[in-house]
């Protein structure tokens, strides 16, 4: 049965009528029309739907909406425009089609905020779950190094 569910997304409170087992992804995207978070595979294999839940990167396609209640959810729209990761993505001209990039950026933000001096292995570990069909991996790596440096220096 659909029930009233209140979520805190990007610091704002949103209430929806939804079945409790609907993946958070679809509530964010289709119920609330915060469409920056993307659907890619539905089974946590591609990372396109990555959001932060209480600061941790999570695949929103795998989290039932009822389990997101009371937690701090951040989507691509909630990352400030001048965030070093977003800036680096523009400087390095990372996106091609751009569809996977919200998820890439969310994974990268979580990484550099936890570790502002990541090794190549750290980057791979954080980003391995994010697929990109356009083949932007090398630029993603470059952008993460730049963003991390920015975070270190700030």
């Amino acid at each position: 049965m659909a029930q009233s569910i209140t979520l805190k997304i990007n610091g704002q409170s949103h209430t929806v009528e939804a079945e409790p087992d609907v993946p958070l992804l679809w509530v964010i995207r289709e119920y609330l029309q915060l469409s920056g978070t993307k659907f890619g595979c539905g089974i946590a294999q591609c990372g396109a739907c990555t959001v932060h839940v209480d600061g941790q990167p999570m695949r929103s396609c795998q989290l039932q909406v009822s389990r997101a209640v009371g937690r701090e959810i951040t989507t691509i729209e909630g990352i400030r425009e001048d965030h070093p990761v977003k800036q680096a993505w523009i400087d390095i001209q990372v996106p091609q089609c751009g569809y996977c990039q919200s998820g890439q950026i969310m994974s990268a933000v979580a990484l550099v905020e936890k570790n502002s001096n990541p090794s190549e292995d750290d980057i791979i570990q954080a980003m391995e779950g994010n697929l990109c069909r356009c083949g932007t991996y090398t630029r993603i790596k470059q952008a993460i190094y730049q963003a991390a440096e920015e975070v270190r220096n700030s």
């Binding site: 119920y31 729209e77 990372v94 751009g98 980057i123 069909r133 083949g135």
Partner: protein, 726 residues
């Protein structure tokens, strides 16, 4: 010299016409046809508007799928028109005939690496015509010879007197001037925008999550549509429980749907659509349908049967696509004969954005929001399905979450239109990843046998090429599949005796364009075999290629350039082996050197780097070319190492990214791109980077280990098996 253009003449020669008029927003340069009163049927063409505040709005008739066309096309106009890049914006051109692809204006679509290639000249001429008119207007006002006036950064200057006027103040006078028939195009040395790595206009929105892809469309009152389709090829619905689906809360409609025929295939995936207020309700409704399907038309179809049929095809008589000289005679007289067979799998597009389409069909209007490479085909389909007039159909183009050829097909639009027509409410039809793979139209599988003759000097005197592949692209009046034989009928190497035969593989698997299409398999077979021949002739693979390219300066040139940049012939650091390949496709010449090392115990291959040289003629945005080469190489190697669609029990067995693997970050590698400074004819950039990647790597593996990889994908198991045969 200026004269008033004659519409018909200008059309014939350039494919577009220009005329001017003053609009409230300023000077509008557009087609003569738009102001024409005769009714010859040609629709006007509008490429840009310049407004009184000097804002240039370029109408872009190509879709943005990551290839940078939304930036490259306005760069062309802005440079010729001499406006400040900061004052340029774009609009996606609506699906209307005046924006269809010049010079024919019969369809609107994006593909074949043709965006910049086809629009380069029309847009340069459009920009240059505007520049000349604005310059003339200023000269008239100042009463000075036009030859004393120059333009830069949206202004006309008269150096002698030091006067200067912004374009915005000249619009009205310029618009009253005749349109130059043949405006002077800038010399390359005068370019201020083209040739520079201009940041892409679409990137900020793609970084902020604001970019709207097909799946991001929301129409007030919209329902969600999902479809249950044939689980195996040819299966038909025998029974289903409509009532049970309708009983699911939120479900509003249950509709029978069909799919259009696919050339070269008997496949269809007929099905039943469920429309509901939410996506999850639509899925629950679909689960409740409890459909009984007929067994399908080829229950024994499987990966093994497909592979077996491909190999068996090599023993069949093919259709001759080319026969030059006396191949059999030359093979008989060979100093040495070399033969090899290659096998390539069916591949999925796996665009990150699964297929989807939003439609709203009303009695007097049809709206369609779709991430498509073929807007006019969708418009035509809507006209056909709804019975509305073309002007009542509005195909709205969104960003594409990759195209790769998949989005050139109309099946997903057709399906959504059928649903929209039946329910007469707005509906967003979304495919899951599993559906996106199962109902994909694939890159064809391919088996190839090449036989060649070498003379005493190590020259190739004969090349006999047999390719087994399904049919999907046969031109009228021909019986040969142009994609199966692409690049072979015009083999770049100078060989006196050449035969190319195509054996048609028969099965129900639908196929279509996949980045670089036929060249994605023929590039691998030709360039792997050239390497085998070089080895058999005891020659260096680079020297051997160059020896057969004496009359082909551009392919010769990129091979030499890439070899130089990669340090060909010098010792390697880090990597164990190095391989080279070069290929011509989409009018561009691309050569690559790959450096690899191979783990003999696990069979895992590490690509250390790929160096790439490209000659695409004049280039617009070098950073985009770098990105396209990098992307195409990555996709080529994703396929080469990991991808193979699995079939079972008459249908597709591959489900999602856990069993259809794509290359991930840990397997990525640096790509170095060198662009030839060329004034030669213009070529494309989206696809030509792909064909040389897999053979360069396979040749590098051979160089490192002596193992020859003739079967893709080069999984660790394949590599270990090849290593055993060394």
């Amino acid at each position: 010299m200026k004269s008033t253009i004659d519409r018909r003449e200008f059309l014939t020669r350039t494919g577009f016409t220009l005329a001017v008029a003053v609009t409230p927003s300023g000077l509008k340069v557009f087609a003569m046809g738009e102001t024409d009163t005769d009714s010859e049927g040609f629709q006007p063409t509008v490429w840009y508007t310049l407004s009184s505040d000097n804002q240039l709005t370029v109408m872009v008739n190509k879709v943005e799928m990551g290839q940078g066309t939304h930036t490259a096309l306005p760069m062309i106009v802005a440079d010729e028109l001499d406006v400040k890049w900061e004052q340029v914006r774009i609009e996606q051109a609506p699906t209307r005939k005046q924006y269809y692809n010049p010079p024919q204006f019969t369809r609107m679509g994006t593909g074949g690496s043709g965006g910049v290639r086809s629009m380069y000249e029309p847009l340069r001429k459009a920009g240059a015509a505007g520049r000349e008119m604005l310059t003339q207007a200023a000269a008239n006002r100042w009463k000075v010879p036009v030859s004393e006036c120059q333009t830069s950064e949206s202004r006309v200057h008269h150096q002698t007197s030091g006067r200067s006027l912004p374009y915005g103040e000249l619009l009205k006078e310029a618009s009253q001037l005749p349109v130059p028939e043949n405006p002077r195009l800038k010399d390359k040395s005068e370019f201020t925008i083209m040739g520079r790595p201009i940041p892409r206009l679409d990137i900020p929105a793609k970084v902020n999550g604001e970019a709207k892809f097909g799946i991001d469309i929301f129409v007030p009152g919209m329902l969600y549509g999902v479809v249950a389709r044939s689980p195996v090829y040819g299966a038909e619905v025998q029974s289903y429980d409509e009532q049970a689906a309708r009983a699911v809360p939120g479900v509003r409609h249950v509709v029978r749907v069909d799919t259009p025929e696919v050339q070269g295939s008997s496949f269809r995936h007929a099905g039943i659509a469920v429309c509901a207020e939410t996506l999850d309700a639509a899925w629950r409704g679909r689960d409740a349908l409890n459909i009984k399907w007929s067994p399908g038309e080829s229950p024994t179809l499987s990966t093994e049967s497909v592979d077996r049929d491909l190999v068996a095809g090599l023993e069949k008589q093919g259709l001759s696509a080319r026969s030059d000289g006396d191949v059999q005679g030359a093979l008989g007289n060979a100093h040495q004969q070399v033969q090899a067979e290659y096998h390539l799998p069916y591949l999925s597009h796996a665009t990150m954005e699964p297929m989807n389409c939003t439609v709203h069909v009303q009695p007097d209007r049809c709206d369609m929001w779709i991430a498509t490479q073929g807007q006019s085909r969708n418009l035509d389909t809507a006209v056909e399905l709804t019975g509305l007039k073309p002007e009542q159909v509005h195909v709205h183009t969104t960003y594409l979450g990759c195209g790769l050829g998949r989005r050139g097909r109309i099946d997903f639009g057709y399906e959504a239109l059928q649903i929209g027509k039946a329910i007469e409410e707005p509906v967003k039809v979304i495919w899951t990843r599993e559906e996106d793979i199962a109902y994909d139209l694939f890159r064809p599988g391919n088996s190839t046998r090449i036989k060649a003759a070498l003379d005493k000097q190590g020259r190739v005197t004969a090349w006999s090429h047999k390719v087994v592949a399904p049919q999907f692209s046969v031109r009228q009046g021909s019986s040969i599949d142009t994609q199966a034989t692409s690049g072979l009928t015009r083999l770049q190497y100078q060989i006196p005796n050449v035969s190319v035969d195509w054996v048609r593989l028969e099965n129900p698997i639908p196929v279509t364009f996949w980045r670089s299409v036929g060249s994605s398999h023929n590039g691998f077979t030709v360039e792997s075999f050239m390497d085998e021949l070089a080895h058999a002739a005891g020659k260096d693979p680079l020297e051997f290629r160059l020896q057969h390219l004496k009359e082909n300066p551009r392919l010769h040139g990129v091979l030499e350039l890439v070899a130089d940049k990669a340090g060909w012939g010098k010792s390697l650091t880090g990597a164990e082996g190095r391989g080279i390949a070069g290929y011509y496709s989409y009018r561009s010449y691309v050569a690559q050197v790959a450096e690899v090392s191979v783990d003999r115990r696990t069979g895992k291959v590490k690509v250390h780097r790929v160096v790439c040289a490209v000659d695409c003629g004049p280039h617009v945005n070098p950073d985009t070319i770098h990105a396209q080469m990098m992307g195409a190489i990555t996709m080529g190697l994703s396929a080469a190492f990991k991808e193979k669609v699995q079939f079972a029990d008459g249908g597709v067995k591959s489900l999602n990214f856990f069993d259809y693997h794509l290359l991930r970050m840990s397997e990525s590698f640096p790509v170095e791109v060198h662009i030839v400074d060329s004034e030669d004819s213009i070529g494309g950039c989206g696809e030509p980077g792909l064909p040389p990647a897999a053979p360069a790597v396979a040749n590098a593996i051979f160089n490192a280990t002596g193992a020859r990889l003739r079967r893709l994908p080069m999984t660790p198991e394949q590599v270990l098996q090849a290593l055993k045969q060394v």
